[in-house]
Amino acid sequence: MRIVISCALLIILSLGLVFALEQAPLGSNHIDKKDKPGRYYLDQGMEKTGAANVVTSVVVTYRGFDTLGEVTILFIAAIGLGAVLYSRKKEKRDQKEKPSASLILQTGCRFLFPLIVLFGTYVFIHGHLSPGGGFQGGVIIASAFLLLFLGCKEKKIPMKSMNAVESLAGIIFVGIGLAGLYWGGSFLENFLPRGMPHMLLSGGVIPIIYIAIGFKVGAELAGIVAGLIERNP
């Protein structure tokens, strides 16, 4: 009986969706209409912000406040996970002998770790020129730390300085926003000179904000992974 009722409800719901969406112009070309924001970003985004990657110019300048909200959400999630995973029984973990990884695995991890960090740094420093940005580069750096946690267990990562880096990057992000409010007239305004597009030093505050976001996301996610690995069931 329940199956019949649920099937009937599903059919009614899908019919309603079909009738509702029949008239909607899904997949039509919205970009080419003159009054839409997409056309504006594509036409004038590079000129006004100096960033060759239009997605970055939208994410960091036009919707910079939105990005600040995203970073804040990630920060609150990391705090929540830390509060759930926190345990005082730190000494117990050290008594248990963990089998250490083989020499080949450890050497491979130590060899790959700087290369992955270098790639992540490249992704967020070139965020205003090529695809990628602070979030993507930060996650790549966090995956390098994950490799280190899995491969070389005896290598200790200074969590205190990671937390300091995370807080400093957040303060820099908000500080740049307030500086834009002071010198540019609105929060997160691009108050530095734009420079030549397609050059590394272009885009005003965009590279600085993306470097701050990259450090913040990388430190935060590495902290989350470290908290999960060190927690005993």
Binding site: F135, Q136, V139, I140, L146, V225, L228, N232
Partner: protein, 85 residues
Amino acid sequence: MEESLKQILELSLTLLMLGGAVCACVFKDLLNAVIAGAFVSLMAAILFYVLQAPDVAMAEASIGAALTTAIFVIAIKKTKRFEEE
């Protein structure tokens, strides 16, 4: 010709994503379910790349396919591997 090939690619990627999502729901072994979820993320990343959104594709591949899977695998290793009835 090229347009229809692109449509076939997009359709097959979408169907693969649907199959992976159904597998992730059905599997009783949670490790397999997590791998199926990572497969869905990977196909989504390729689909974003085909649809000319490389920024989102990078985010999806690095967060969805790599880091989330690793976090789930660590969590399964610390708890139970099989779903109970």
